[in-house]
């Protein structure tokens, strides 16, 4: 049994969903999503028992490319995030009626396939292929099922596509350059390379362009807010919950270990870019009137902090980054789902048009409050652990980084609570707000449960990821 099984399940699932027809599509998709989740937990067990669950075989002889999937703790953690969020995203779409739903759910599963592949691939080209492949489904999801004016949406989505493609093509050039030197793109072989400082600088920059656009970091974030707003909620969840983690994961897995000299030399600049994103995102979020846009900018702030943490090149920074990636993935999916639940009833995303929901639906209000609290890193939630490990790692580099990065919590609490107040509290709304349905409630409870369980007992995840992060750190600090 090895990790290729998950990819097969997701890919077959995508085809089966398409063939199942519009009526059954959502259920078939959920079945395959859950199957992938089950499969990845089983694989996790096998991995913990010390079995080898990697998969490698020759794919192309010349140039020398292998179909190599390697699972270590870090990959498995990200894989679990993907396979856990996929069924949640599928369930959350049940309440919305999508036209041509067979294609819609098939694309969700296909995207989840590509993202899982990105987290597992250990050959540079295979990784690049999965990375690009994830772009096509989200492009169509946002384009066809998105909301708002068609022309504006088209503009936003095409900008997003060209931006991300542009960034990743430079990454491809960097890979080809390294292939010339190593004669292979397997990550172990690339780790053996002895690149000069100048070479490392350019490769670092090429990677950075790809990742900074994907994550997104300032000043490459301009596509983000409009695409989050225009995409259907399931698409926004895929983007913010999993896809932007592809960028952060890649920084840890590929960029830092391959170009440690450049990373060390320019560390401060990149930490500063991350923290600039924190402050900028928070301040812009304060002024947002659209709920989805506000969440988009808050997401920008949170990933800025994660990126800053990874560039500290300390074990705490990397660990905090991975923990916060998972925590943020769950919480942001939950928050966008609440926005969707409100939209289903009021047909609006403008915060000013909401308000007074608390008396009509106390269940939703309390769950939303918990998610808001989690997103501003309230202790006992998973986000608290992630965010404070990150801030601690920043304080080890320079106390002022931690102080500036810490504004995410203060500003975050301000804009999130202000939003919550305007959206949920106040006098009872004259429009009727139907209480949450069973599936909606179940989805939110599941997300909240994950946040609390790992918030109070993060040990399993910490133990899972630490050995592989230590290995990456040794690679970064190797003596020349």
């Amino acid at each position: 049994m090895n990790v290729s099984l998950i990819l097969i399940i997701l890919l077959v699932g995508a085809f089966a969903t398409y063939l199942a027809g519009d009526k059954l599509a959502s259920k078939v998709a959920l079945f395959f999503g859950l199957a992938a989740l089950g499969c990845s937990t089983v694989l996790l067990n096998h991995y913990n028992l010390g079995e080898n669950i990697s998969f490698i075989c020759q794919w192309i002889a010349e140039p020398n490319i292998s179909f190599a999937l390697k699972a270590d703790g870090l990959s498995l953690a990200m894989l679990l995030l993907t396979t856990a969020l996929t069924p949640i995203i599928i369930i959350s779409s049940f309440g919305t009626d999508y036209k041509n739903s067979k294609s819609f759910y098939a694309l969700i599963l296909f995207m989840s396939f590509a993202m899982a592949g990105t987290f597992l691939a250990s050959d540079g080209l295979l990784y690049y292929i999965f990375w690009e492949l994830a772009l096509i489904p989200i492009y169509f999801i946002a384009l066809i099922w998105g909301n708002g004016d068609t022309e504006e949406r088209k503009k936003a989505v095409v900008k997003f596509f060209i931006y991300t493609l542009a960034g990743s093509l430079f990454m491809l050039v960097a890979f080809i350059y390294m292939y010339q030197q190593a004669g292979s793109l397997l990550i172990e072989d690339l780790y053996q390379l002895n690149l000069t400082a100048t070479e490392q600088f350019w490769i670092f920059l090429a990677f950075f362009l790809a990742y900074a656009i994907k994550i997104p970091l300032i000043p490459f974030h301009t596509w983000q807010a409009t695409v989050y707003q225009k995409a259907p909620t399931a698409g926004t969840m895929l983007l913010s919950g999993i896809m932007l983690k592809m960028g952060l994961y890649s920084v840890i897995r590929w960029q830092l270990p391959l170009t440690p000299l450049a990373a060390k030399q320019y560390m401060y600049i990149f930490i500063a870019i991350g923290i600039a994103g924190v402050i900028y995102g928070s301040i812009v979020a304060l002024r947002q009137k659209d709920l989805k846009k506000l969440l988009a900018y808050s997401s920008l702030a949170h990933v800025g902090l994660i990126a800053a943490g990874t560039y500290t090149l300390t074990l705490d920074g990397l660990r905090g980054a991975v923990l916060q990636m998972i925590a943020h993935g769950f919480v942001v999916v939950g928050l966008f789902f609440v926005a969707e639940i409100i939209f289903r009833r009021y047909q609006t995303r403008v915060i000013a048009e909401m308000g007074g929901i608390r008396t009509q639906s106390p269940k939703l209000t309390s769950m939303f409050l918990i998610l808001v609290m989690a997103s501003v890193a309230l202790p006992t939630t998973f986000n608290f652990i992630g965010e404070f490990t990150l801030l601690y790692s920043l304080s080890q580099i320079n106390i002022w980084f931690a102080v500036l990065g810490g504004t995410t919590i203060i500003l975050g609490a301000y804009y999130m609570l202000k939003m919550f107040q305007h959206a949920m509290l106040g006098e009872t709304n004259s429009k009727v707000f139907a209480d949450v349905t069973f599936t909606e409630g179940l989805t939110l409870v599941l997300i909240i449960a994950v946040l609390f369980i790992f918030g109070m007992y993060p040990k399993p995840i910490v133990e899972l990821i630490t050995p592989s992060l230590e290995a990456i750190l040794t690679q970064i600090n190797r003596v020349r």
């Binding site: 690049y128 292929i129 068609t150 088209k154 493609l165 491809l172 080809i176 292939y179």
Partner: protein
């Protein structure tokens, strides 16, 4: 050699069919005949022989490219079944000309003598002039044929002049003799001049900047099936011939020549892509996209000793995607007087299958993974960086990004706009050709070694 004879035999047979009034059977018979010839060619893959005092030299290179050309011709002939529906009385002419054109292309990749090379080019060009003007009652088609004829004969003249100079310098038309003589220390100055002239003539045929001005007009004016033929078969033939010419004559030795190739390659990509962004006619857009692809294929000339496999792969990926795209265009623009993007509005809803195929073809041309177009670019970039032209690769990458802009214009039109009218009928042949060619493209993408290793 057997391939060439068989193809010409088939062409003659095709003309005889008309005499016996078997017009309905022509398309199926020619397809079966070409499949047979394909089998024959594949079976001779590993043999390399020369015929008629080195006039024709069959090698792996020529056989592999001949196979590609035969496959493309099969697709084009099959599409003719639908395209010439309303013009049955002339069908044998059109099909026979295509078969003779194929003979010309096979001669062009398997020549051993510059005379044979020129014969091949003329067979190809004359067939093309006729096909471009084949819609006799249409002014645009006439204009296209005339324009192509004037420009094309001019280019032929330049090629001929180049061949004369090479003969003057070397005293032979035989490429192996020329190759041996070109190793000597003292090259007569006529030899490089002749080579440059021949190269210019061939660059005209591949429509590389600055010899591309005919392409958009001729592509737009010609009947759509002829445009498909020009942008897939003819472009790859011309590129393969240029590659073979320079590699067998050993003429690419000088650094200055390589700099010229780099500049032309960069200019073709950039001009082609930027002009394509502004087009609203799909045929013109694909013409300019073809100019930029010519720029990409020219990169193979920089590592001429090793890049035959990647040229074959790029040619196959590009032309298979082109066939798939053009079969959808044939379906959409049938009985329309233009090929505007507006015709494609709402195709995603009215005909999801063909819309998906066109999307896949365009994604392949744009170089998105799992489609063959991606690996084509990848191996090309790999080789070019190896040859030491990093700057060229970066220009190529920037151009790949630009090209997404106009390929996606068409995709957007299919999926976001409302259809203006329903199209009736589901022509089986068009579906079959589109599906088979795109499946071949994806198979090449999943297993690139199938083609890449052929010429190793």
């Amino acid at each position: 050699m057997n391939t060439l004879i068989a193809i010409i035999g088939l062409g003659v047979l095709c003309l005889l069919f008309e005499i016996f009034n078997l017009r309905k059977a022509i398309v199926p018979m020619v397809i079966i005949g070409l499949l047979g010839i394909l089998g024959l060619t594949v079976s001779e893959f590993n043999s390399s022989e020369s015929y008629y005092n080195n006039m024709i030299v069959v090698s792996k290179f020529s056989t592999a490219f001949s196979c590609l050309f035969i496959i493309l011709t099969i697709f084009l002939v099959a599409l003719g079944h639908n395209f010439y529906e309303n013009n049955q009385s002339k069908i044998s002419d059109f099909i026979a000309i295509k078969v003779f054109l194929l003979a010309g292309t096979v001669a062009m990749v398997s020549f051993g003598n510059l005379a044979m090379f020129f014969l091949g080019i003329e067979v190809l060009s004359i067939a093309l002039y006729i096909l471009a003007a084949s819609n006799r009652m249409n002014l645009k088609s006439n204009e296209a044929g005339m324009k192509y004829f004037l420009m094309g004969s001019f280019a032929s003249g330049i090629i001929l002049f180049g061949i004369c100079l090479i003969y003057g310098a070397m005293g032979s038309f035989d490429v192996t003799e020329i190759s041996e003589l070109s190793q000597s220390a003292e090259l007569p100055v006529w030899f490089p001049i002749g080579t440059v002239l021949v190269t210019i003539g061939m660059l005209f045929k591949v429509a590389a900047v600055p010899f591309h001005f005919w392409a958009p007009d001729v592509y737009e004016g010609s009947p759509t099936l002829t445009t498909a033929l020009m942008s897939t078969l003819v472009k790859t033939v011309a590129m393969a011939t240029l590659y073979k010419l320079l590699s067998v004559m050993n003429a690419d030795v000088s650094e200055a020549f390589k700099i010229v190739v780099v500049v032309i390659s960069m200019a073709s990509m950039t001009v082609g892509n930027i002009m394509a962004l502004r087009q609203t006619n799909v045929k013109r857009m694909l013409a300019f996209s073809g100019v930029s692809h010519a720029g990409f294929m020219l990169m193979t000339l920089l590592s001429i000793t090793t890049s035959a496999g990647s040229l074959l792969y790029y040619a196959a990926a590009y032309s298979l995607a082109g066939i798939a795209a053009f079969s959808v265009i044939l379906y959409v623009c049938k009985n329309r007087d233009n090929e505007d993007v507006t015709n494609f509005h709402g195709l995603g809803k009215t005909n999801p299958l063909l819309a998906a195929i066109l999307t896949a073809a365009l994604l392949s041309m744009a170089g998105i993974p799992i489609f063959a177009g991606f690996f084509a670019k990848l191996v090309l970039f790999n080789q070019t960086i190896q040859a030491g032209y990093l700057a060229l690769v970066i220009v190529a990458v920037v151009n790949s990004i630009i090209s997404v802009g106009y390929y996606f214009k068409l995709i957007l039109a299919m999926y976001t706009k409302e259809a203006n009218e329903e199209r009736k009928g589901t022509p089986f042949v068009i579906y079959a050709v589109a599906i088979v060619s795109i499946v071949l493209n994806i198979v090449l993408g999943l297993f690139p070694s199938l083609v890449l290793d052929l010429l190793a």
